[in-house]
C-alpha cells in the first residue's frame, strides 16, 4: 500500500507500519475477541445459566465466578501503570520515562477490560449501566468500583495519557502520513514553547499528586468489596484493601515487564529500552513481590492456626481441600519469582528473560490469588451448615475472558500502530537519530 510505504520511513517505532507479525497478532486477537463477543451474546440471550456460576447455599455454587476473578485481576493490574507514570513524573526518574506511556496505556487497557468485565457479569447489564447512573449508592462498595475506578481512575488515566503524549504528537505531527490528522488533533496546537512546557510540567505534577491517592483509594475499594463482608469466612478484615493493592502492584509491574519486553522485541533494540529499564522494573517488582509474599505468608500462617468453626472451613478448603492445588501452586510460583528476582538483584546481573519469567510467574500467581479470594469463601464459606459447594467455569466464561484479554491486546496493539509507545522526548537524541 502506498500510504504505508510512504509513512514507513517517516514515523518512529513502526507507527503506521503493519508488519506481518503484528497482523498475525492483531488477527488472532480479533478472532479471540469475536469469539468472546459470540460467547457473551449467547450468555446474554440464555442468561447466566450458561456460566458455571450458581447460587450459594442450597444450590452449592459460587454466585461470583471467573468474571469477578478477572475483574479483580485486571483492575489490580491497572494500578501499577499510572502510578509508575506518576512517580516518574513527580520524582523525575529518567530511566523509567521511556515506559511511562506504555505504563499508562496498560492501566487504561486493563481498566477498560476490568470495568467491562463488571458489566459482563451483571444479570441485567444494560439496566445495570443506566441504574448505576441513576441510583448508585455510596454505601455500597460498588460506588468505589463505579465512580472512583471506572470513572475517576480511567478518565484521569486518559487525561494523563493525552496530556503526556501531546509533545510527542506535536513532534510527529510534522511527519506527513495518513495519521497526521490524528497526531495534529492530539497535539492540539502544541508548539513546545517554554511556557507550554512549564504549564505541562505543572499540570502533570498536580495531576500526579492527585492521581496517586485516588488510585490507591479507588483500588482499595476492590478489596473492600470483600473486606466488608461479615457474613463470609475468609473475607472480613481490614487487610483485604492493602492486600489487594500490594498484589495489584506486583501483578501490574509484572504485566508491564512482559509488555516492555514484547515492545522491545517488536520495535527493536533501537529504542531506549535497555537493561536499565528492566533493572528498575525488576527491582520494583522485587519490592512488590516481596510485600505480596509477605502478606501471603502471614495469611498462610494465620490459616494454619484457624480455629474450628467458620474460618476453619476456608482454611481447610485452601490448605487441604479442593483449592489446595491452586493455593500451593500460586505460593510456589511467587517463591520461584522471588528467587529469580533476588538472585538477579544480588548479583546485579539483570537478564531480560529472567525478569520476564519471574513476571509471568507472578502474573499467573496473581490470577490464582484473585481466584482464591473470590471463590472459596462462597463455596466453602457458608456460615449455615450447607454442604460445601463447587464452581468450575464453563467454556462461555473462558471465551468471554479470552475476549477481554483480546480486547486489551487490541487496545495496546492498536495504539502502538498509531502513536509512538515509547516516549520520544525521554531521550530526544536517540529518537532523532532514529528518525
Amino acid at each position: 500500500m502506498s500510504v504505508e510505504t510512504r509513512v514507513e520511513q517517516k514515523l518512529p517505532q513502526g507507527v503506521g507500519r503493519l508488519t506481518p507479525g503484528w497482523l498475525v497478532f492483531f488477527a488472532v486477537s480479533f478472532v479471540v475477541f469475536v469469539i468472546g463477543i459470540g460467547a457473551y451474546s449467547y450468555q446474554l440471550s440464555n442468561g447466566l445459566i450458561v456460566t458455571g456460576m450458581r447460587s450459594t447455599g442450597t444450590m452449592g455454587g459460587a454466585t461470583w465466578g471467573l468474571y469477578v476473578v478477572m475483574v479483580e485481576y485486571f483492575i489490580g493490574v491497572s494500578l501499577a501503570g499510572v502510578v509508575l507514570a506518576a512517580f516518574v513524573e513527580v520524582f523525575n526518574i529518567g530511566a523509567l520515562r521511556p515506559v511511562s506511556r506504555l505504563a499508562v496505556l496498560l492501566t487504561i487497557a486493563s481498566l477498560s477490560t476490568g470495568v467491562l468485565g463488571v458489566l459482563l457479569d451483571l444479570g441485567s447489564p444494560f439496566r445495570g449501566f443506566v441504574n448505576m447512573l441513576l441510583y448508585v449508592r455510596p454505601q455500597s462498595a460498588f460506588f468505589g468500583t463505579f465512580m472512583l475506578v471506572a470513572v475517576g481512575v480511567l478518565m484521569t488515566s486518559l487525561v494523563y495519557l493525552y496530556l503526556g503524549g501531546r509533545r510527542d504528537a506535536a513532534t510527529i505531527a510534522g511527519t506527513p502520513s495518513g495519521l497526521r490528522w490524528f497526531h495534529k488533533l492530539w497535539a492540539a496546537g502544541y508548539r513546545d514553547t517554554e511556557p507550554e512546557r512549564e504549564r505541562h510540567r505543572r499540570v502533570m505534577f498536580w495531576l500526579s499528586i492527585g492521581l496517586v491517592p485516588l488510585v490507591i483509594v479507588a483500588l482499595s475499594t476492590e478489596g473492600l468489596v470483600f473486606g466488608i463482608q461479615v457474613g463470609r469466612p475468609g473475607w472480613y478484615g481490614s487487610l483485604q484493601g492493602p492486600d489487594f493493592i500490594v498484589l495489584a502492584a506486583a501483578s501490574g509491574l509484572a504485566n508491564l515487564v512482559v509488555l516492555t519486553a514484547i515492545i522491545r522485541r517488536a520495535v527493536g533494540a533501537r529504542i531506549p529500552l535497555g537493561h536499565a529499564v528492566f533493572k528498575w522494573l525488576g527491582s520494583l517488582l522485587l519490592a512488590a513481590t516481596a510485600a505480596s509474599l509477605y502478606f501471603q505468608t502471614v495469611k498462610t500462617f494465620t490459616l494454619l492456626y484457624a480455629t474450628p468453626g467458620n474460618e476453619r472451613l476456608i482454611a481447610d478448603a485452601l490448605l487441604r481441600g479442593p483449592y489446595a492445588w491452586i493455593f500451593w501452586s500460586s505460593l510456589v510460583l511467587m517463591v520461584v519469582a522471588m528467587i529469580l528476582l533476588v538472585s538477579q538483584a544480588a548479583t546485579g546481573a539483570w537478564s531480560v528473560p529472567a525478569v520476564v519469567a519471574a513476571s509471568v510467574a507472578i502474573s499467573t500467581a496473581a490470577v490464582a490469588e484473585r481466584y482464591l479470594t473470590v471463590i472459596p469463601s462462597q463455596t466453602h464459606g457458608m456460615l449455615l451448615p450447607y454442604e460445601p459447594g463447587s464452581y468450575f467455569p464453563t467454556w462461555v466464561e473462558f471465551a468471554v475472558v479470552g475476549g477481554l484479554f483480546a480486547l486489551g491486546a487490541i487496545l495496546i496493539g492498536g495504539f502502538v500502530k498509531v502513536f509512538p509507545i515509547i516516549n520520544l522526548n525521554s531521550n530526544r537524541r536517540e529518537v532523532r537519530t532514529d528518525a
Binding site: G57, L122, L134, R137, V230, R232
Partner: protein
Amino acid sequence: MTKYAMVVDLNRCQGCRGCTTACKVENNTVEGNFWMHVFRFEQGSFPDTEMSFLPRPCQHCDNAPCVKVCPVGARFKREDGLVLTDADRCIGCRYCELACPYGVNYFNWQDPEKAQYSVVDWKDSDLQPVTDGVVPPYKNPDLDELWGEEQRRTAGGGHAKGIMEKCTFCVQRVEKDLDPACVETCPTDALVFGDIDDPGTPISLYLRENRTWQLLEEAGTRPSVYYVGGTPPSSELKEIERPKATV
C-alpha cells in the same frame, strides 16, 4: 408502628417442607430456588445420633448486610421490617447474595419460564383453554403488582431473568393482612408471624413466653426471625435429604 417478625418453633417443626412447597406455589419460584429452605440435619454416630430440622426463610435483618451492599437500592428495608427487592431496580450483580450469611438469595440464572419445572410442558395446547398459556399454570398475578407505601414491585415481580429474588415474607399477602404462605400452611403451627410492636399479637405472646435465639447472632445482622427450641446450628451437623437444587 408495625414491626413484622417470624417465630420458628423447632419444638414443633416436623421438617416436612410444607412451607417450602407453599412458598413455591404462592410465589411461583422456579426450580432450584428455595426462598424457604428446610434443613434436615443429623449429627453423631450410631447409636448416639440426633436429628434436627431448621426452616430458613430470609431473616429480614434489621441490620441487613444485603441492603448495605446493594449498589442501586434495589434491596431495601421497610419500616415495618420487611427486607424486599425491587424487581424493577435490580441489576443482577448478586452482591447481596455474597453479603448474606444465610444464603437466602436466589438469582434468576435463566428465563424463569424455562426453569419453571419445564419437564412438564405447561404450554401444552390442551391446557391452554384453561390456563391461557400462563407459566406456571398457577401463576399468581399479585406478584406483578406494586406493593406498600413505596409502591415498588417487590413481590417477586413475576420473576425475570438476570435479577435477584428472595423471600418477601409474602409481601403480597401481608399487605392483605394474611400470613405468609409458609406460616399459613405449617401443619404443626411451628411458624408464627405477626407484629411484634403490638404486645397483643400471638407472636408477641410467643416471644414473651419462650426463650428464643437467632441465626448467626454473632454476625450482628439482627434478624427478624426468632427460633424457639433446638440449638443454633453448628458445623457438627450434616445436612441430609437435600432437595434437588441444581439447575
